[in-house]
């Protein structure tokens, strides 16, 4: 892990982005307002905020699953749409989104299949990914035979299968119990350290954001804005990190940022 991410290349650049849903209608929602954010290549950045702050919308804008009302989103130096068509990113969601009719291996092979890979190559890569998420012995199982945490690991393996430079994660551990969740956090950091991806991680858990990230972006709702940008220079994370004073200080700092912000509106 590199302490600071300044000075390296920009993976995602958000400039003056706003997003309005149902514009001009009575149920108009200003989901995002004047967002500016640069995410450096290889960094791990979390977006945190209460429900309705637009953090998921911001992630979906990076994925070009939705488009901004104003401003621009640039991914790897090109438009977000171009990046999507070039398959520059892999994505993991709150629900695993595994297809129940595909085995674990077949699920991981899905993006490769869409990209026209040969069967043998797909198989080799899927095996490699299963090693990465430590699920090799479940290759031929169907998703329903796996626990929630295992399903999320398969989803992450699938997101990484075609080696995108960017990994977008939308509350991937939101539905998991606390212990599985902490275990998964360690695994994701391990994967991040080994692969060097840029990771953008949406969460509403403060300890999760602090534990995982080099940088925590705090957001507030109505309209969604960035209210704080907190560096988390905690070095390489380990079991003892969660119990260290510096970890608690950072958790408190993020919590304060979220709280002050609430008072302001």
């Amino acid at each position: 892990m590199t302490g600071s991410d300044t000075g390296s290349k920009v993976a995602v650049s958000i400039e003056s982005v706003s997003k309005v849903f149902n514009r001009g209608k009575p149920n108009e929602v200003r989901a995002l307002d004047d967002i500016n954010l640069d995410i450096s290549e290889g960094s791990f950045v979390s977006l945190i905020g209460p429900s309705g702050c637009g953090k998921s919308t911001l992630l979906r804008l990076m994925a070009a699953l939705t488009h901004p009302t104003g401003g621009s989103v640039t991914v790897n130096g090109k438009s977000a749409d171009k990046a999507r068509l070039d398959r520059d990113y892999g994505m993991a969601f709150q629900t695993s989104g595994l297809f129940e009719w595909r085995t674990v291996t077949q699920n991981i092979e899905l993006p490769l299949q869409l990209m026209g890979w040969e069967k043998a190559d797909r198989k080799a890569r899927a095996d490699e990914m299963l090693e990465l998420v430590k699920l090799a012995e479940f290759a031929t199982h169907y998703p329903r035979e796996l626990s929630g945490g295992m399903q999320q690991r398969v989803a992450i393996a699938r997101a990484l299968a075609f080696r995108p430079s960017l990994l977008l994660m939308d509350e991937p551990f939101g539905a998991l119990d606390e212990m599985t969740r902490e275990h998964m956090q360690t695994e994701v950091l391990d994967i991040w350290a080994r692969t060097g991806k840029t990771v953008v991680f949406v969460t509403h858990s403060i300890p999760e954001a602090v534990f995982l990230s080099q940088r925590v972006i705090v957001m507030s709702p109505r309209p969604g804005r960035i209210t704080a940008d907190i560096e988390v220079p905690l070095g390489v994370r380990g079991f003892e990190t969660r119990e260290s004073n510096r970890f608690f200080e950072k958790v408190t700092e993020v919590r304060e940022a979220l709280r002050f912000d609430k008072g302001g509106r």
Partner: protein, 258 residues
Amino acid sequence: MRRVFRGAAPALVFGSVGLIVWELGLLLAKPDGFVLPRPTEIVGSFVDNFTVIWTATVNTGYIVITGLIVGVLLGVVWSLLVSRFRLADETLTPLAIALNAIPIIALAPIFNAWYGLLSPTSNQAIVVLLVFFPVFINTTKGLTSVGATELDLMHSYAASKWEITKMVRIPNAMPLFFVSLKIASSLAVIGAIVAEYFGGRQDALGQFIVQNAASSRYTEAWAAVIAGSAMGIILYLLSGGVERIVTPWRPDVDVVVG
């Protein structure tokens, strides 16, 4: 095989007890015999008339199978169109609902006038119309009820509409399609036999039942009903068997035997 028998055992026991009660009840109470024949009488009649009933079953079976195949294909193609193109949804969905609102059996005498009283085509047309709707409505539901996450995922891979249909919508529709296939296979047998009451081939189950009932030979009519039931059960089990092969990921496939 042992599993199959174990699964079927409760049904077999229950059915056998029912038949014994039926048999003994009628034997002991001795009501006017023609109202309801005893199971042994029906079996006897089935054996005595086996050649005729077998020919009638084959003829009706032809109507059932051809009507079922055409009706199911029509329903599937129709729902693929409706789930894929908005214009098709706006035009073909109301048309399907309107078609289903017709009391289809009531069309049987009219179809006979169109295709000729002795032509099996009118019977096939009835089966097609009956079968089409449940297949259409269930398959459409399966094709369109894909989760938002699954669609986002496919879009994140820049998948085309056809790829989404092929890799997500069609597999997603399989369970509901098979539900509709089971409903359709029973409906096809009912539709064919009832349609035959009004016309079509004379050596078919519907006509056999009508003619025997008209001459108060109820035992013979019942024997033909048994043949029709057997056809329905076989088609149901076949649908279930295909379902098992096509959707191996599902533990809950609800086939009676198994």
